[in-house]
């Protein structure tokens, strides 16, 4: 494997600005994320990280600057196009398809990447994805729940299904929106361990927005701290932990 | 010119009655996210309650009106809320829409079975004699319908803005969660909304039935027109529903008089589709908030 620092950035954020009315939510943020990195995006409430996240997802057009994934501008792109470009995501709130089985949830997450519209109408019902979906289900230790309706699962299990869906199409970049929110401690440890293992096995790049400091510190390889719409610190978890500016921002905010 | 004035005025009179129905529609939507597809039947039925009072109970006309109003408030307000909206709302909006459609059929068919398919005469509240106004012959009934409807809208607005209960109702409509925290009895406020809707529908029924006669199928067009009026008004304001109602009433009368009568019914529909697609927040509405 080549040195990740030398390769092209998977995600590139350049001088992004975004205002709502008179409020400058994001003020000229720039950073790159390289292949295989696990980047944490943290900051106190109102620091602009959600706005930035939505700009990265192409949902909010930035006022200035640009976001590109694998060299392609994402602004104005539809979510399905982003996904087919190799960007997976999870949601803050639960986002499974409750009246479909776990297996069907996962297959759905991959099927639109297989063949054409017509081949998906006339081809096999599972788009040839059952085995791959089962591998992913096994990876997240959900095999016993394979044929259950996703809506009948516990909160934490649904979070795992949600994550598995984000990985199903084999994306190069996955954006995790507060993955730890509402998950109990036992499940959280399992979840974090699985995410880390996936990153190691597949070299997938992660960008994580999270409030749970311990989760971010132990999962991420690099952390960017936002406050009042600007980057105030950047570095490894250890560097961030001891950074006085960051501590002040959190205590002050 | 005098014909125009006549057409305009009678359009405003019907429009004001439409507005009453549309306002009830809007209030119920705000308070309980209920889109009542039986709203037209809610206007059709009270007239039959009055007829029952007159023919079966032998009450005088004015006492029967009171009887009709009370029965409407109980059945179309209280019972509707408790037996249909409350249990079905948790199953989702579309399910509730379908349930109110079934309710519409139920009311329509009941009226037909119990009172016959023929239109029943309904006593006029006021004499229909034309009076002379600026050289135009306008009917006194139109003028009084317009006056009463507008008067009720003004009273309702005063109630919602000036009384404690009214303000609690507004708070409930805007944010039930916060209202609850502030000590508002949210459930009771929602119930009041349903009662007011029923009363408005009954009033509209009493004003409009002398013109149309009491017929089981009256609700079909009324419900649609009230919805269109509500949509024109953006579905979230009394003011909007009022403007919407008046506008539809006048437009309808003008097209019937001056344009083809064949496609008269098509105009409000085209208007409806256009508004929903171009400005779903309504002509006078704002996209944010559900302010009364």
């Amino acid at each position: 494997m080549s040195d990740p620092a030398m390769s092209e950035p998977v995600l590139s954020v350049r001088n992004v600005e975004k205002s709502f009315g008179g409020i400058r939510a994001v003020r000229g943020v720039s950073f790159d994320v390289r292949k295989g990195e696990v980047l944490g995006l943290i900051g106190p409430n109102g620091s602009g990280k959600s706005t930035l996240f939505n700009c990265i997802l192409g949902q909010l057009p930035p006022d200035a600057g640009e976001v590109s994934v694998n060299g392609r501008k994402v602004s104005g792109m539809r979510a399905s196009q982003m996904n087919r470009l190799g960007v997976g995501r999870t949601f803050q709130q639960l986002s499974v398809f409750p009246k479909m089985t776990v297996l069907d949830n996962i297959i759905l997450a991959g099927q639109e990447h297989q063949g054409t519209m017509l081949s998906r109408l006339f081809g096999p019902a599972d788009a040839g994805l059952t085995e791959e979906a089962e591998r992913l289900i096994a990876f997240f230790r959900l095999t016993h729940l394979r044929d259950e309706l996703a809506g009948s699962l516990s909160y934490g299990q649904q979070k795992l299904v949600d994550a598995a869906m984000a990985f199903m199409a084999g994306p190069g970049l996955v954006l995790l929106d507060e993955p730890a929110g509402g998950v109990n401690l036992t499940m959280l440890a399992h979840f974090k361990e699985r995410l880390a293992a996936y990153n190691v096995e597949h070299g997938t790049t992660f960008v994580v927005i999270e409030h749970n400091m311990e989760f971010v510190m132990s999962l991420c390889t690099r952390i960017i701290v936002l406050a009042e719409g600007a980057v105030i610190a950047e570095g490894t978890p250890d560097e961030i932990r001891s950074n006085q500016t960051v501590i002040d921002a959190y205590l002050g905010g | 010119m005098s014909q125009f004035l006549q057409v305009l005025l009678s359009g405003l009179a019907t429009g004001a009655v439409y507005a009453l129905v549309a306002i009830g529609f809007t209030l119920v939507w705000q308070a309980a996210q209920t889109v009542n597809f039986a709203q037209g039947e809610f206007v059709m039925v009270p007239a039959f309650f009055v007829l029952i009072g007159m023919h079966w109970l032998g009450l005088s006309f004015w006492i029967s009106l009171l009887f009709g109003l009370v029965v409407s408030i109980v059945l179309l307000g209280l019972v509707f809320k408790k037996l249909i909206v409350e249990p079905i709302l948790p199953h989702g909006g579309i399910t509730l829409i379908i349930a109110t459609m079934a309710l519409g059929i139920l009311l329509k068919e009941s009226a037909k079975e119990f009172y016959g398919a023929e239109a029943q005469p309904f006593p006029a509240l006021f004499p229909g004699d034309p009076i002379n106004l600026f050289g135009a012959a306008v009917s006194l009934r139109d003028l009084l319908n317009l006056g009463i409807s507008l008067g009720v809208v003004v009273l309702l607005t005063l109630f919602l803005n000036r009384t404690r209960t009214g303000r609690c109702m507004q708070a409930t409509a805007q944010n039930p969660g916060v209202a609850e925290i502030l000590g508002v009895d949210v459930k009771r406020m929602v119930l009041y909304t349903f009662l007011i809707n029923a009363a408005l529908a009954a009033l509209a029924s009493f004003l409009i039935t002398p013109v149309y006669l009491a017929k089981f199928s009256n609700g079909e067009t009324l419900g649609l027109i009230a919805f269109i009026a509500a949509i024109v008004g953006g579905f979230n304001q009394i003011r909007g529903a009022l403007v919407g109602g008046l506008l539809i009433g006048v437009l309808d009368n003008l097209t019937a008089t001056y344009v083809t009568a064949q496609y008269r019914a098509a105009l409000p529909l085209v208007l409806l589709i256009a508004i929903i697609l171009v400005r779903p927040q309504g002509l006078v509405g704002t996209s944010e908030g559900r302010a009364v």
Partner: protein, 331 residues
């Protein structure tokens, strides 16, 4: 897994038995009875289409009767002009598919009650055009004298052969819908119903599937219309009004929206039951609509849902993944 395949073979057996019943039932019966059975099949087809739009894809439509009208009038005009029914069919279906696509556009912007009203307005507009454009549609007098199709020596002029012809078309239509809802498309439709935002983020082109849900559902409405014309041999705008769209919608909901066999049951309740309950006379619709409301309060997933609930109670869950468990919870 064994439970699952056991369940499958039971279901297959049940389908074969029902199909045999459908073939044998009309033998020796009066023409009127066969006529009622035929209209049950036709409304089943229309309801199957709406079930795709509403039950599977979660998009409400109050315009299904207007697509029956498009199919019926296309067939009527073309067969009256001397074309064979088989030629008029694809024309009618294509027309409905295209108009259905157009009707789907509002669904990209608005949902729920707004969509219900747009489609309702559309249905009424179609009705007005049919009533007013006399040169084409015969206005309120409608069109009559349409011939029934002949296929070589198989003539459908008599009631029984026409019934078998309709049964054949219904089976084909059901197989077609089965293929769609079993395919990845079916999964995408359901995803659109359950969580459109999540579906979009997983690469599902929700715009395209919304339009397709309307277009395919409408084409099924057109197919039903194409069968109405030769059955009744007289059509007029009043047969395709809003009340009929509502009737089809209730068929879907009563049978069980999002269940494959829901429309068969729902259409049976609406078309066949009144014949059985003749003695209730005019009260039938009152009883029916009251029961619909009661059902929506207690079992919003429809009659098949009741069946599923009972089975879950008496036949404890062997597998959750029974296809009975996939019905819609409408948004």
């Amino acid at each position: 897994m064994r439970g699952l395949s056991l369940h499958r073979s039971w279901r297959l057996l049940l389908i074969v038995a029902l199909l045999a019943a459908a073939i044998l039932l009309p033998l020796g019966q009066k023409n009127y009875f066969i006529y009622v059975l035929t209209s049950w099949l036709i409304f089943t087809i229309a309801a199957m289409g709406l079930n795709l739009t509403l039950g599977y894809a979660g998009q409400i439509s109050l315009a299904q009767a207007s697509f029956m009208a498009l199919g019926a009038y296309t067939t009527a005009l073309m067969t009256l002009a001397g074309w064979h029914w088989l030629v008029s069919l694809p024309v009618g279906l294509t027309l409905c598919f295209v108009v259905g696509l157009v009707l789907g556009y509002p669904a990209l912007r608005v949902k729920g009650h707004f969509l219900a009203f747009v489609t309702l307005a559309f249905n009424t507009l179609v009705f007005l055009v049919l009533r007013n454009e006399e040169w084409l549609t015969g206005g309120t007098y409608g069109l009559s004298g349409m011939p029934r199709p002949e296929f070589g020596s198989f003539s459908t002029d008599k009631q029984l052969p026409f019934y078998y012809f309709t049964l054949g078309v219904t089976v084909l239509a059901a197989l077609g819908l089965w293929a769609i809802v079993r395919s990845p498309w079916g999964r995408a439709f359901k995803a659109l119903r359950e969580n459109p935002i999540r579906a979009e983020s997983l690469g599902v082109d929700t715009r395209r599937f919304t339009l397709l849900a309307f277009a395919i559902g409408s084409a099924y409405g057109g197919l039903a219309g194409a069968l109405v014309t030769p059955l009744v041999q007289f059509i007029e705008p009043g047969s395709f009004g809003l009340a009929h769209s509502l009737r089809i919608l209730l068929m879907v909901v009563v049978g069980g929206a999002g269940y494959f066999f829901g429309p068969f049951i729902g259409a049976a309740v609406v078309i066949l039951l009144p014949e059985v309950l003749r003695f209730t006379e005019g009260y039938y619709l009152i009883i029916y609509s009251a029961l619909v409301i009661v059902m929506l309060v207690f079992v919003p997933s429809g009659l098949i849902g009741i069946f599923g609930k009972l089975r879950a109670r008496f036949w404890p869950r062997r597998q959750v993944r029974a296809d009975m468990a996939e019905g819609a919870r409408l948004p």
